[in-house]
Amino acid sequence: MDEKILSKFFDRDDGHKLEVYEDHGGYDAARKAAEMSREEIVNEVKASNLRGRGGAGFPAGVKWSFIPQETEEDKYLVVNADEGEPGTFKDRQIMQRDPHQLIEGCIITAMALDLRYCYIYIRGELKFTEDIIQDAIEECYDKGYLGEDIFGTDQDLDIYTHISAGAYICGEETGMIEGLEGKPGKPRIKPPFPAIVGVFDAPTLVNNVESIACVPPVINRGAEWFANLGVEKNGGPKLYGLSGPIKNPGVYEAPSGITVRELLESPEYGGGMKEGKELKAYIPGGSSCAVLTPDELDREMSFEAMREVGSNLGTGCVTFVDQDTCMVRLAARLAHFYHHESCGQCTPCRDGTGWSAKVLDAIEAGRGRHEDLDLLEDMTGQIEHSTICALGPSLTFVVHSYLDKFPEEFEAHIEQGECPFPSWSLDDTKPAAAE
């Protein structure tokens, strides 16, 4: 894709400055939106086929229309900048390199839905991006872009950064709301949905950083233009983070619906596997998505195409796995991740992820029994549908898909009584640091 929409400043070191952003047409979309009715903005976003970029792919305009308009109380926008899904590293680029596109997106979103306050919820580890975003916010206050009656409308908007302190579960939108209220990030039972009862009991819109950063181009150039950059039901350009043993790992902008093969092989993007490495598997959108094999390389990066094969587009950050990697060990490592990050409210998740990790460790260490495979499938199966949020069920997708796609690797461990793959380190898989 020649013109960059979301990544135009990624290779500059001054793109975070208001002056540079405005030299490239920055805040024109906000001025345009100020002339539009609320309904027109929402309809534009609906027609753009913008899908949530935080993992679930919910149509952004449809989510926006759930925010009640008849109420008098202050409503909130919470931007999900908690980026923590393993394999995902795209939002951080926007936060670091192009904070004004994010802020302009917040401004237009607030105008569309009459949102009075906005919090950008930043994971604690990315604290260094908070300073960049905070500076950008201050530039906007100085210009009168934030505060009262913004862009000549009667909309008031204040934007604040909020720093978290280390918890993957706060990426889940209701866990995030709890964190924003100063509590442990334990997800809430839905309904009520945040659109009705969100932060401080007020109607709240939660959108991902990249989703919000897509809003200015939608308004500037129109829904049809945006939709046409993608494929059916998946509009616009998309940021893809490519990682694993490939030649050029990194974040790339490409159309929604591009094939995984092109992302991996094109010299413009991943550049193919590293010398001597052969592709064994890929995970399309963060560790919580089911694993796929190279015969699915021609699949398009859309929510529909990935769901057809039981996986998910997720965050659109693809992790490539090479032939030397042990899939049992990878599954075990992920089980430790989900166990460590489980908030502990729901027993099936808290205990199920822990027991799965133990069984997977045992198989990896050559102490597995054939019955363990059924046990694993059954145990992780019991997590799905029995938890408040989607953290635990993510491990169900991991374990079921790794068992389904690579049964021979599990069998080989059990039969040989040891792991047939080269080790990652001197003493193999270790549980993540507990507190």
């Binding site: 209220e181 990030g185 401080f200 090479d322 507190e435």
Partner: protein, 175 residues
Amino acid sequence: MALQFSTEAEDQFQTIVSRYPNNLAALLPVLMLAQEEFGWISVEVMDYIAERLDVSKSQVFSTATFYTMLNKQPVGKCHIQVCTTFSCALAGGYEMLEYLEEALGIQAGETDPEHNFTISEVECLASCGTAPMFQLTTSDGEIEYFEDLDPDRVDEILEDLNDRLDELPDPRDMH
């Protein structure tokens, strides 16, 4: 000695509190600030924050113990947090962790006797395309990412840190 924010931290505290409709909502950023200021989050620090925000001690305790970046034990002056999660595991995260463990003579989860270094194994830090990597938190409150690491680069970083150790406060002495 009763705890008290320095003048500079007090200003930041006031700014943070002013961003929220109630004090409890300020708790996470205030705890992060308190860690910068007091080195680690002891029960004494939690009590001080409870008093300053006028929220219950049990509320502060339950939040402080939920979040992994808040150290409930003092760490070393340099806290090296190595990602070994997913993409990092595939790209040498464990090898780098071991290299560090050997170089510093401590294991993940440990602090050296002088309290200069702590190594932790942590989960995905949104740096998967530049693996292997670690996050460095120093006791002066800085958080920095080091990416695309190899043994030579790690040696360089450790050398720089060794030169800075005298300037960095020992978290145990920060309150």
